[in-house]
């Protein structure tokens, strides 16, 4: 990261990621998570994107993670409202909540201990080490370390040092799965809405087994709304059918930048 990315802002506070945001909301504002209006955060997100001259991709994708986490949590709250509660699902919900709690606690632990380490660094920086080494009387003792090294070996070492470094491969985990699939979902949703002209959100998520996949589809729709490629309409308040309508002119070029943007891995 050559220059530090401008962190994403929600209501003046600066958050570094979903855990950061959740810890802030819960610990400093004592907010119950299910009271957070996702609407507000999405509105702030869209307003912020409008003010940017160019999309700060790393920050934008982190924000999508925040939104995904919140949507997932709110979805958990909403699902049991349906008449028949699946006991397995209910138990799974508790487990997931406990897992999130322990992850937040772990994250908070390292945030706190990082401050202690910083205090160590600051204290240690008040002393500087001696680095001068032996004086010139002893330079003659140094063996000729280059003996036996051909100039060609030096050239080879130079080429090795300047060869492009392999890009580190990050193995897929829970978090990166979410990020990667938003790009795919944008393509899939765009294809489907363009083909049909108008479709219900329920149709777009029909057949998806995992809740997180539904969340990702929802985020994809938000991205397409933001880009002006689709419009959404919901008559009859919460839980009424959401209609998604195609506004674009049918070329792939409009969708491509969104997909590329999300695939970017800073």
């Amino acid at each position: 990261m050559a220059t530090p990315a401008k962190p994403y802002e929600v209501q003046t506070a600066v958050f570094e990621g979903p855990f950061d945001l959740l810890l802030h909301l819960i610990l400093e504002h004592r907010v119950e998570l299910f009271e957070v209006r996702l609407n507000d955060i999405v509105a702030a997100y869209l307003a912020h994107m409008d003010t940017l001259e160019h999309l700060e991709l790393e920050v934008a994708s982190e924000f999508l993670l925040v939104a995904a986490t919140l949507v997932e949590l709110k979805a958990r709250r909403l699902l049991p409202d349906e008449a028949d509660i699946d006991l397995d699902e209910e138990l799974g919900l508790w487990e997931e909540r406990d897992l999130l709690l322990s992850r937040l606690l772990e994250c908070k632990t390292f945030k706190d201990v990082a401050r202690v380490l910083d205090a160590h660094v600051v204290a240690a920086a008040r002393s500087s080490p001696r680095v001068a080494g032996p004086d010139d009387r002893y330079v003659g003792l140094v063996p000729d370390v280059l003996v036996g090294i051909a100039p060609e070996a030096l050239r080879a070492a130079y080429l090795r040092a300047t060869a492009p470094k392999p890009v580190p491969v990050v193995s897929v985990d829970h978090v990166t799965v979410v990020r990667a699939s938003v790009a795919d979902a944008i393509t899939e949703v765009a294809d489907e809405v363009r083909r049909t002209g108008r479709v219900t959100f329920r149709t777009l998520v029909a057949g998806l087994a995992e809740r997180v996949e539904v969340v990702v589809r929802f985020l994809a729709v938000l991205e397409l709304v933001k880009a002006g490629l689709v419009d959404v309409d919901q008559q009859g308040g919460s839980f009424a059918t959401i209609l998604v309508t195609w506004l674009g002119d049918g070329v792939d070029a409009e969708v491509a930048p969104l997909v590329a943007a999300d695939r970017y891995d800073g």
Partner: protein, 204 residues
């Protein structure tokens, strides 16, 4: 209060070293037991302090080194400008803390703990020489595993990783745990959170 030859040899050797000198090496060169090296270094260090020297003999990263006395930071800071590294960002410090306590650890594991991508900060930490690749995961991905370096110990002024503050002392208190539990409560229908585990365990 004259110094004997072993003390003088310790002073000379630590003076010409570019990095902290392993007491084993001092013992070998001076031909005295390691325990005696340790005792003599402790005595020298106490004596410098008592004489109000401008330098100290410090035990850092497993060895002994001379360094300027912390009192004189105002003078030294003006002089060594550029040699001191810039402060780490909170994000880099948090990631560094995770590596310090969880090493060896992969990027994916760091990402999972922080909840955000760590590639940028890991690059910064590698660049600063505070962490390094220490192994590869045996699994299919052969993920690179990272650990802290000697430079990390030197920058924190620690003798070894054992001197890191115990993580257990920094596990959030009952009030924080309770606040988080309330925050994650289901809300309106009075359902209670069933606890299945306590605060996270300190590292083994």
């Amino acid at each position: 209060m004259s110094l004997d030859d072993a003390d003088r040899a310790i002073e000379a050797l630590v003076m010409v070293a570019e990095d902290p000198v392993d007491p084993q090496l001092l013992a070998q060169l001076i031909e005295i037991p390691v325990s005696e090296v340790e005792r003599r270094c402790a005595d020298l260090s106490a004596r410098y302090e008592a004489e109000r020297r401008g330098f100290t003999l410090a035990r850092v990263a497993g060895g002994y080194r001379y360094q300027s006395h912390a009192d004189l930071a105002p003078y030294v800071e003006r002089f060594v400008i550029g040699r001191q590294s810039a402060r780490l960002s909170p994000a880099a410090l948090e990631t560094l803390a995770i590596v310090a306590y969880k090493q060896p650890i992969s990027r994916a594991q760091m990402t999972a703990i922080r909840g955000v991508d760590v590639d940028g900060v890991v690059r910064t930490l590698l660049h600063r020489g505070l962490v390094a690749e220490v192994a590869r995961d045996g699994g299919p991905g052969q993920a690179v595993l990272y650990g802290t370096t000697r430079a990390f110990l030197e920058q924190l002024g620690l003798d070894s990783l054992a001197e890191l503050p115990p993580l257990g002392e920094h596990v959030p208190g009952a009030d924080v745990v309770e606040a988080l539990e309330n925050g994650l409560r289901a809300g309106d229908d009075g359902r209670e959170l069933r606890k299945t585990r306590g605060p996270i365990a300190p590292p083994a």
